[in-house]
């Protein structure tokens, strides 16, 4: 699960073409990441919330304290293969539903529950049949269709009037884009299921033991980066007298080239604003040519694996685990996979994640997609109490994230027998910076700023693992790499605090013309970039690519996207 999750995180973080619906791509990753973290225990978040608990947070909302008579809400849901119920429990009768019913008068009634992979198709069929439940999670494309068919409730006033503190807090932490994407014709048609893209920045992972061995500097600037990459590939860092090490790991779908391009202020396959405020396609901009020249340079010097063109991310991670790779770009969670495997194979290995090395006096910014998981929570047109959905979401946040009590943790998140209880909540939202917040709390305790007893159960679990690691158990080395001192989430923290992101400005469901031209344009781009990097085509062919891209439909797409952009400002 963890392995799969990280893989998908990567590919979804990086590989999503602007022409595909971003949300459906990164869907399983977040959830998978959650499940693995839930198994190690999780719950709380922001450092300020350490003293809060469920009851004190709920009072502030304009929501009725308890629905009387109880409100029945039908919904449909997805689950992951790992879900199991405690004895006697089922989807309509478990700790979550009992709590909602007894304390808040909300009876959540599940119509059907399917594995996540089937969820998009099954909801499509359901919408086609015209019979939708009181609330459910809809994809961006479905949101648009439901709105056009007038099947869902306008939630603008409901949100403004009733949204509890916790829900607002999480929505605000996710930034303005998710709610913008959920707004059609000025009306909020769904509550965004916020995701975790911002803390999943693909920083530069570096083999620190090789740095030490070869006496190299840390990668602060682009020159450092080039020196290190060259030395890692050509100075035999593993000392076996063979040139078999890889300076910088890349994959055949070029997903991992995006952070490299970001370093050079180029952005791969997203829509960015130009000087005139128009949206332009980042892959056709002059900065892209510059980064392709640099990548070709790396290829020529033997820094890239000559065979990267046939290796996907999984295959690259095999090389990482076999300790042949010196640097690669990946999210902070790479500390668990693939890097834990690297450490298992050789206890002398040390890795560290760095921010993007500086190319000039401007810091590199990561490109990022619309930060949602799957889509938006929608409420059926005519349903009497849409605000009840906000209560379910609030309770999810209160018990999953903003909780300090071990008892609540075991009741609603996970316990020794069952680490999937958290999945039973009828509606969820993800705290966009959960792992980063965990990192901050862990480090507060480690530096003596906070006491272990004041942090949430999930953080205590991680502290326990870090203690074991410090006592010599390398099994928890990866966890320390993520949350410990100088951990990868510290890099994410830096990016979140400085807000160093370039957002894909196109955040709607794909337009028809994008769908029609997309397959061909994506292929054209991948084909051209691969050939330029490997030198099969000269760098001048970049201009030919730009011309072809425009001619084969790029101009039409640009026009349609700008029309959308003007209409949705």
């Amino acid at each position: 699960m963890k392995r799969f999750g990280t893989m998908i995180t990567l590919s979804s973080m990086l590989a999503i073409s602007a022409l595909l619906p971003a949300c459906s791509n990164n869907a399983p990753s977040n959830e998978a990441g959650k499940s693995s973290s839930a198994s190690t225990g999780s719950s709380e978040s922001s450092a300020t919330a350490t003293a809060s608990n469920a009851s004190s947070e709920t009072a502030s909302a304009g929501l009725p304290a308890k629905f009387d008579p109880p409100v029945e809400m039908s919904y449909v849901s997805y689950q992951f293969a790992t879900l199991k119920y405690d004895k006697g429990d089922d989807v309509n009768n478990n700790n979550w539903t009992r709590m909602l019913k007894d304390e808040y008068g909300i009876v959540a009634k599940n119509v059907w529950e399917v594995p996540y992979a089937q969820y998009p198709q099954k909801t499509d069929l359901m919408i086609a049949s015209g019979d939708i439940p009181d609330f459910f999670l809809a994809s961006p494309t479905q949101l648009k269709q439901l709105y056009e068919a007038d099947m869902i409730e306008d939630l603008t006033d409901v949100y403004n009037k009733y949204a509890p503190e916790l829900v607002r807090k999480v929505q605000d932490a996710a930034g303005e884009y998710p709610r913008k994407a959920a707004t059609i014709d000025g009306k909020l048609m769904g509550i965004p299921f916020t995701g975790v893209l911002r803390e999943s920045v693909n920083g530069l992972w570096v083999r620190m033991d090789w740095i030490k061995k070869l006496g190299l500097p840390e990668p602060k600037t682009f020159e450092d980066f080039m020196t290190i990459a060259d030395a890692f590939a050509n100075k035999d860092p593993d000392g076996n007298n063979k040139k078999d090490t890889i300076g910088l790991g890349l994959d055949k779908d070029l997903a991992m080239t995006a952070p490299f391009m970001n370093m050079l202020h180029a952005y791969k396959s997203i829509w960015t604003k130009d000087a005139d405020g128009k949206l332009v396609y980042s892959s056709t901009q002059p900065a892209m040519k510059e980064s392709l020249i640099k990548l070709h340079d790396l290829y020529e010097k033997g820094i890239l694996d000559k065979e990267f063109v046939v290796k996907d991310v999984t295959k690259l991670f095999e090389d990482v685990t076999a300790n042949r790779v010196g640097m690669f770009y990946s999210a902070g969670t790479a500390g668990a996979y693939p890097l834990q495997g690297s450490k298992d194979n050789d206890p002398n290995v040390e890795w560290k994640m760095f921010p993007l090395p500086a190319y000039d006096d401007q810091p590199g910014k990561f490109q990022t997609e619309l930060d949602i998981f799957h889509g938006f929570w929608v409420v059926k047109k005519g349903f009497k109490h849409p605000e009840a959905l906000l209560r379910i979401q609030e309770q999810w946040l209160a018990n999953f994230y903003f909780n300090n009590s071990d008892e609540t943790h075991q009741k609603f998140v996970s316990n020794a027998d069952n680490d999937t209880i958290w999945m039973e909540s009828p509606a969820k939202l993800y705290m966009p910076t959960r792992n980063r917040d965990f990192y901050l709390l862990v480090n507060d305790v480690l530096s003596g700023k906070a006491d272990k007893s004041t942090v949430p159960p999930g953080v205590r679990d991680i502290l326990g693992m870090i203690e074991k690691y410090k006592a010599g158990d390398n099994q928890f080395w990866g966890q320390n790499l993520i949350y410990g001192e100088g951990g990868s989430m510290g890099v994410a923290d830096h990016y979140i605090n400085e807000n160093l992101y370039v957002q894909n400005e196109f955040i709607a469901a794909p337009l028809q013309v994008m769908v029609d031209k997309g397959v061909n344009l994506t292929k054209l781009e991948l084909d051209a970039f691969t050939k330029i990097i490997t030198g099969n085509e000269p760098i001048e062919s970049f201009d030919k690519f730009v011309t072809n891209w425009k001619k084969q439909g790029g101009d039409d797409v640009t026009k349609a996207i700008n029309e959308w952009y003007t209409a949705n400002q």
Partner: protein, 299 residues
């Protein structure tokens, strides 16, 4: 009389029912989905609610700039696969048939049959390793005899052949067994008579073994002609990369990117329908020819 035999055979017909039901449910009912090829299909509107666009999806496909490259790649790879896929097993079956030791014969048969059971998902990873120009065993052997390493999976000149040969390596054991089964059906009396007339090994093979295999050969060739637009999705999908789009992108991989990644169900179905249509015509022609020229009927 008739009634009596009907009564006797009824249970046997009933035994057929579950199989017929399965075929009906899973093969015939989904055929309604073919309608998608003529619609601007939107999942939420369903097959009956989507807009009817006639042949627009087909003209859309042929308006794409790389359709013809993809078509050519498919034909090239599939035709090579058909030819190699017939010749190799026949040759191997004939050779195995001449083997005196039953033990070696059985052993070889089993060994070459084994890769058939591995999925391409697993084999893909193994192929990338053994065909690697730097560390792969194939290229190490090549360099050992003085050759230059070849990037089998990353070189557009080599990629189609790599696909055909690796597929053949995986599948030829299976077809060989079919041919070997056909060989056991040839009466030993024919060989004895031939020996009496002074025929050597070559003559026996040419005049007895091959004619004896003829019905099976015709059957398999006829069936394989239906594969002429089928270059093997699974294999190419795990082995190809943007580097070899030029020589390795086939109809099925294009359909995958179109249908699954871009949700263009209409055009994707249209391509699928076109493929089935061409296959149907080719199989019919081959069947007709087999009947006319070899007087052989499959059904």
């Amino acid at each position: 009389m008739l009634k009596k035999s009907w009564k006797r055979e009824l249970p046997l017909h009933l035994l057929l029912l579950p199989a017929a039901a399965i075929v009906f449910i899973f093969n015939y009912i989904p055929m309604a989905g073919i309608l998608m090829a003529f619609e601007r299909y939107i999942p939420t509107k369903g097959i009956w609610g989507s807009k009817w666009v006639g042949f627009d999806n087909f003209s859309y496909i042929f308006s794409l700039p790389d359709t013809y490259t993809v078509l050519w790649n498919t034909l090239f790879i599939a035709c090579m696969k058909i030819v190699v896929g017939q010749v190799t097993p026949i040759a191997v079956a004939l050779l195995l048939n001449e083997m005196r030791s039953a033990l070696i014969k059985r052993g070889v048969q089993t060994l070459i049959y084994l890769p058939h059971f591995l999925s391409w998902t697993i084999l893909g990873g193994i192929m990338i390793d053994i065909l690697s120009p730097s560390s792969g065993i194939v290229n190490q052997m090549l360099t050992a005899i003085g050759g230059k390493p070849i990037f089998f999976l990353g070189d557009n000149n080599w990629f189609p052949f790599t696909i055909v040969i690796s597929n053949e390596w995986k599948e030829f054991g299976f077809s060989t067994i079919v041919y070997l089964a056909a060989l056991t059906g040839i009466s030993p009396a024919l060989y004895e008579a031939a020996v009496m007339d002074g025929a050597g090994r070559w003559r026996q093979t040419w005049h007895i073994t091959l004619p004896g295999m003829r019905p099976v050969i015709i059957l398999l060739v006829t069936l394989s002609l239906g594969q002429v637009l089928n270059a093997g999705f699974e294999q190419i999908f795990v082995l190809y990369s943007p580097q070899v789009y030029e020589s390795g992108d086939i109809i099925d991989t294009m359909v995958y990117r179109m249908g699954m990644l871009s949700a263009q169900y209409g055009p994707a179905t249209a391509i699928g329908l076109m493929k089935s249509f061409v296959s149907l015509i080719l199989i019919s022609v081959a069947y007709f020819l087999a009947y006319r020229l070899a007087n052989y009927r499959i059904f």
